[in-house]
Symmetry: C2
């Protein structure tokens, strides 16, 4: 990409200069164990919201609001438990500038030293040899959230004007289903979020460990269950084995016919809906920094279905896949139990991609499952149904936001970013796109090996600092576009 | 059967006369919640042992011992928890008489009113309209245990000599794995149990609700697990779906090939080991009181694999069966979880019958499972193994003990008993047979609908009273044989 560079060096230098302050800000944030999934830590989640409010206030944000979301719906132990508030704030309100909404979350995954952490998860540890910052939330998502604040601090100290109006939306329930967020976005679309031109989310990761990426696509997910019911209650296999049609026998025969050992979905008609691979798209995969070795390292095994980089990425990003997740109602404990389960519920899901039509997919799946069950001639009864779906998302990687982010990335990292998709879903992406009617850019700060939901979560110092530069650079290029 | 009747009418009349005392004895026993599976109720289990000791003492038993079994092995909450003692006692010690060991258990299954009981489970309720005694332990196994005591009381009041030496062995952990019992039998085989000629166990049930039975066979059970391992940890199906070989996909394909929809085991070589059905044995099934309607009622569904009475009974008693019980390591909860389980363990068992050789069966099963997995060409790894086995048991229904019990049954009920087997296992049967080197007779007191492990457990008054007569009559016919 050849482009006119903006004179951002003073900003980049200021970020470098402020590094000690930014590290200290992250240290303070990590020290607050804002685990949304642990009811007993809910006060800490709320404390983290107030920490952000104080920071935003100090930095000169205005119209700062803590949006209360009411009581957390069941299942909860404490039925009066309040959801953590969503933190909103503005920086700048110039009608002549574009408005960028940035989303992040201030809650974190659970973490205990006993889980196997090398250091206390809520005491930031700076490994100065490798220059890595360890701690729960370092990369997911406190580092990126503070990144936006760091950008503002650098501008303040430079006395630079921000090239856009910035709106921040930080939630505290992302690790626990983002309860209440969709409703808030819908309610504020024409209010607090009125005039937003684009949304930037920094809450995913590079594909690998060395090359920055911009993410323009996500697969969707249609999740199904197949319930097979026989006897009126669980039976003893000694007394009833051999004389009763067993639901578990039927279910494994149905589940066995969904996908073959190479990952090919056996349900006819699905492949026909997948958008054909064009030569242009195929070429996009050529330069992406990835290898089967990286896949094996991430999976912790040598059990990849494809050995070619491009095949792996296509099957992760642009082809559907089917996974069998488990069975409800059968014996699932350790050891031995001689039960004939009376009702078993198989769970599987299909990752969806353009141009799979969700409703048509559901019909193909349910008809196929029913047909395979009918072939068994079983006296048991079956019910196959969709239990939830989430649409795939693909953006235009050549739109203004992506182009701006690509320029900023190249300025900072001296390399063009890879344009990637992800195999999973980030439902909030679609929520913003659909409820605000704007484009969304996924601009990750951390690396693929940061261990977001794992032990020893980390953020490399270079990712934190260069990430801040990239976020700020993106605002400048986007403001100029 | 034509046989010389013994003059037992005075004994039967005495049992009838003592009915109020026997009902009171059962009421007292039911009132002690001797739930062996509930650690907090362990003192009540011990109290029940002492209740029996007091009763045995009053009835004139001698050499009464409480055999302590030490501390209960893990898993337990209280690591100092003592196992309940085994109660031993003798009545008579005449070298010229045969010695009968009777086994029973004084512990019971858990029971809570909230489980759905119509009345408090530990307060005996006598439904005088139907003449049924309700309460936890009524049929399993306090009624039968007290039956032996009732027989002695009747003899005492008649001033009749008991025709055999009686040894009682009552345990308090039967509902929790009979911990310590095998070791005690082995230790006492040449001591307390020296000279025992036969063993009688009254701890199973009639096949149906109207006709008494004697039980001469039990199926065995070989329990297997198939572990399939892929990635190093559970993975996200969004990120890894379609690019990794999934252990769950492999496992359902293997489990689907174990048994067909008609209950036929698909593993070659097993059928060849099953003892051929002789014409004589086939005829044994003709008169047995059973119907497919009874099976459907018991299963709570209309999903029987066979519609013919004889086919049902043969498949329950004398043919092997294979049940798939469940999967460990996969998602087993309600709702949706988008996991690719890294290691899944399928559990299935085969009910064994004469003349299946256990070791040969294991080899056939494990080789077959490995071969079916190999056909998949999966990069995942497999381990198929036996996790426990218990042998089948078949006795000679025409031996002295069965013949004596059959005569007593006919005296009491005016009908020849059905000679039945059971599809399940009662491991203690084999323990006594093998460790003492004697025959074992299974002589049930209760009916097939007593709800032994269920809510509203009951014992019909006629079964309790006629059961006492039958137990006593059996001792007389066996003593004379």
């Amino acid at each position: 990409m050849s482009y006119e560079k903006l004179p951002l060096q003073p900003f980049f230098d200021k970020i470098d200069e402020l590094k000690p302050a930014f590290v200290e800000r992250l240290r303070k944030a990590i020290a607050i164990p804002s685990v949304s999934g642990d009811e007993s830590l809910r006060p800490k989640v709320v404390e983290m919201a107030h920490f952000l409010v104080d920071e935003l206030t100090d930095l000169g944000f205005h119209d700062i609001q803590l949006k209360e979301l009411g009581v957390q719906p069941p299942p909860v132990e404490n039925k009066d438990l309040k959801l953590p508030p969503i933190v909103l704030g503005r920086y700048g309100n110039d009608k002549n500038k574009k408005t960028v909404l940035v989303y992040g979350h201030y809650d974190v995954q659970p973490a205990l030293k006993e889980d196997g952490w090398s250091t206390d998860p809520f005491t930031m540890y700076h490994d100065t040899t490798k220059d890595i910052l360890y701690g729960r939330g370092s990369t997911d998502d406190k580092g990126p959230v503070l990144g936006w604040l760091n950008v503002i601090q650098a501008h303040n100290e430079l006395k630079w004007e921000l090239p856009v109006n910035l709106v921040v939306c930080f939630e505290g329930m992302e690790e626990s289903g983002s309860l209440g967020l969709d409703e808030l976005i819908a309610a504020e679309a024409k209010n607090y979020f009125n005039g937003v031109d684009t949304v930037c989310i920094s809450d995913n990761y590079w594909l690998g460990t060395t090359k920055p990426v911009l993410t323009y696509g996500l697969r969707g997910c249609n999740y199904y269950q197949v319930s097979i019911k026989g006897p009126g209650a669980d039976l003893h296999s000694g007394i009833f084995g051999g004389i009763i049609a067993e639901p578990m026998t039927d279910l494994v025969k149905v589940l066995a016919q969904l996908v073959d050992g190479n990952g090919r979905i056996l349900i006819p008609g699905i492949d026909d809906m997948v958008a054909p691979l064009t030569e242009k798209e195929d070429k996009l995969y050529d330069d992406i920094d990835f290898s089967v070795e990286e896949l094996n390292a991430a999976a912790g095994s040598d059990t990849a279905l494809h050995q070619d980089k491009k095949a792996i990425l296509k099957h992760r990003w642009r082809y559907p896949s089917l996974s069998v997740h488990g069975i409800e109602g059968a014996f699932s404990g350790g050891g031995a139990k001689t039960v004939i389960p009376s009702k078993v519920i198989g769970k599987f899901s299909i990752r969806t991609v353009p141009n799979i039509e969700s409703a048509k997919l559901d019909k193909l799946v349910i008809d196929y499952v029913n047909a395979k069950f009918a072939e068994l001639g079983s006296p048991n009864s079956i019910k196959a149904e969709l239990i939830h779906d989430g649409a795939y998302w693909v953006s235009n990687p050549f739109n203004e936001a992506f182009t701006a982010a690509a320029k900023a990335t190249e300025d900072v990292w001296n390399i063009k970013p890879d344009f990637t998709r992800e195999g999973g879903s980030i439902p909030i992406t679609l929520s913003f796109e659909q409820l605000l009617g704007t484009d969304v850019l996924l601009l990750p700060m951390g690396r693929g090996d940061d261990g977001a939901h794992s032990i020893n979560e980390k953020l490399n110092m270079s990712n934190y600092i260069n990430g801040c530069k990239t976020l700020g650079g993106y605002l400048h290029y986007y403001g100029k576009a």
